[in-house]
Amino acid sequence: MKLIGKIILKVFLAVFALFAVTFTVYFFNLDMKATSLLEPLFIKHYDSMERKYYL
């Protein structure tokens, strides 16, 4: 019984921790803030690619 209680508590804590982390990312827009840092790197990469125009 005690073991089951411990497992339930651990599962609850794990789910809560996951919720706390993802909700923080969601609410403070951290996902978008991170991806906005990636965009200039991609643009730099595209600009360095060789292109042949087809008209």
Partner: protein, 522 residues
């Protein structure tokens, strides 16, 4: 008496920064914030499933337009701004369905793309279609994939990131294409010129869609497809005088020719069972849309503005009965709308004006419709691109109905979004606007003036003349469709701000939204 406020954040402008993204997401009260968070998790899972495929990562490094998909979750935030309860749920039903469908489209295109997945067998089952084209001719080809490269490379990116098409517009103009042409087809042509369009498909069908710009870009793209990629192209020439009876035989003949072309090049046969199955779904989507519009004629509109426009465009034109998920979404949206209607709910605490939005809207500022209602309490009851065909298609498989079906497909193709208003004479563009004003009991008309659209600009004076005659306030909102360097988002907003302040002598409901530093924003 103090005005009733919505639950949670009420000064939405305070969330903006002068960078690409917002300070934080909106607080909508406990239940709606948790609901939005739950939907955000769903978005993240769609992105995760997309990213785990190596070929999609490869595509990310190959195609410049792919970087714009980094902004996907923010687009959903923009369209859900200020929404609560049923309106938030309707928005997510719609946009999450569209978002998932776009993810699948990207995946399919990259699978067949010579440069990425290079699955030749799959590519041989692909028929390329224009983004700006009804996909009705694919309703009877169950085993084929009608895929639009322009949807994923041009149309969606500019909804995600306002600056996404500037590079391609510049490429097209540097190669000598006219700068006064509509920037949408110009960007499509720019992608083809810049060698940035995926290469796949057994054949392609292009349509003489909306304008001179479309014809120009079709010419550039088809030349590349035929001469470089070896992909034959059929030009589906739908009549421009689409309301006239004398053009319908020819239009149906063009549909037969397009189907014969696809059969010849793919070896597949037209499947009438599948066609009528799709036709039933088209009819169901039409019924739902009519019910939403019926509600919008009352004092309690439910599916309007941003929640009506983009979803209708996608469902009517690109989906055209072929995707079951959209039928499910239609059902859920209708249930939510009925519930909100029964409860006499309103999207924002105060409605001040009932507006019809006419003309071709700015794509880099599609969420302007959401801003209108949040900042000024203007309810965008419906828009020109949502007022499409409501004709019921035949759905029973009989010899007579098979013949009628060609006419139905022709009618849909002639009446694709935008084309059904920009061509066909002043009745469809001018007269019907004022009929809708009466039907929807509107007290304001907001007219988009797309600066490169010759079809609409030619009627500027006639719109004004009619507005004066009817005594309806008319606001012109200039923009350049895909190019925010010509008119910025704030430039768009200022035209409304100035009109409401000076002509109507009004103050905004949410003053924090009046001037926003979103020049660099996605």
């Amino acid at each position: 008496m103090a005005e009733k406020l919505r639950v949670g954040d009420n000064e939405l402008g305070k969330l903006y920064t002068d960078g690409k993204v917002r300070k934080r997401r909106e607080w909508r009260g406990v239940s709606d914030t948790l609901y939005d968070y739950w939907r955000w998790l769903g978005t993240m899972s769609v992105l995760a499933k997309f990213i785990v495929k190596p070929r999609n990562i490869k595509a990310m490094f190959r195609y410049r337009w792919m970087a714009n998909y980094l902004a996907s979750p923010m687009m959903l935030d923009r369209f859900s701004q200020g929404l609560r309860g049923e309106y938030l749920r309707i928005m997510h039903e719609e946009y999450d369905t569209v978002f998932k469908d776009i993810g699948l489209l990207l995946d399919k295109v990259f699978r067949g793309d010579k440069r990425i997945g290079n699955d030749k067998k799959y590519s041989d089952k692909v028929v390329l279609v224009d983004e700006n084209e009804m996909t009705a001719v694919m309703m009877g080809f169950k085993t084929l994939k009608g895929l639009s490269r322009e949807t994923i490379s041009t149309y969606v990116p500019v909804l995600l990131n306002q600056h996404s098409m500037e590079h391609y517009i510049d490429v097209a103009q540097l190669q000598g294409l006219a700068p006064d042409v509509c920037p949408m087809p110009e960007a499509e042509a720019g992608i083809s010129i810049d060698d940035d369009a995926p290469i796949l498909g057994k054949c392609a069908v292009q349509c003489n869609t909306t304008c001179d710009g479309s014809l120009l870009s079709n010419g550039v793209i088809s030349r590349r497809l035929i001469n470089v990629d070896g992909i034959p192209v059929f030009q589906l020439a739908a009549p421009l005088r689409h309301r006239e009876d004398d053009v319908q035989d020819y239009a149906a003949g063009e549909i037969k020719n397009a189907i014969a072309f696809i059969e010849e090049h793919t070896g597949e046969k037209w499947d009438w069972d599948y066609y009528f199955e799709c036709a039933k779904r088209v009819n169901y989507a039409t019924e739902c849309r009519q019910e939403w519009l019926e509600m919008n004629r009352t004092d309690y509109p439910q599916v309007f503005g941003g929640n009506l426009a983009l979803y209708t465009e996608t469902n009517y034109m690109a989906i055209c009965g072929k995707v079951v998920d959209f039928e499910k979404a239609d059902r859920k949206i209708t249930e939510l709308a009925r519930r909100a209607y029964d409860k006499k709910l309103k999207m924002v605490p105060q409605y001040r004006h009932r507006a019809i939005i006419w003309g071709v809207q700015s794509h880099y500022y599609f969420d302007f419709l959401v801003w209108l209602v949040n900042c000024w309490g203007i309810v965008p009851l419906t828009d020109m691109l949502s007022m499409v065909s409501t004709r019921k298609l035949v759905t029973e498989d009989t010899p007579e109905n098979r013949e009628t079906a060609y006419y139905d497909m022709a009618w849909l193709t002639e009446n694709m979004i935008m084309r059904n208003r920009t061509h066909g004479g002043y009745k469809v563009l001018l007269d019907e606007l004022w009929e809708y004003v009466e039907q929807f009991n509107a007290d304001m008309v907001i007219l988009w003036e797309h600066q490169s659209c010759k079809a609409l600009n030619g009627m500027h004076g006639q719109f004004e003349e009619k507005a004066r005659e009817k005594g309806i306030p008319l606001v012109w909102v200039g923009h350049d469709l895909f190019d925010p360097r010509i008119v910025s988002r704030q430039g768009v907003r200022d035209q409304i701000n100035n009109f409401l302040r000076t002509v109507m002598n009004e103050e905004p409901i949410d003053p924090s939204l009046e001037n926003l530093p979103d020049e660099k924003s996605w």
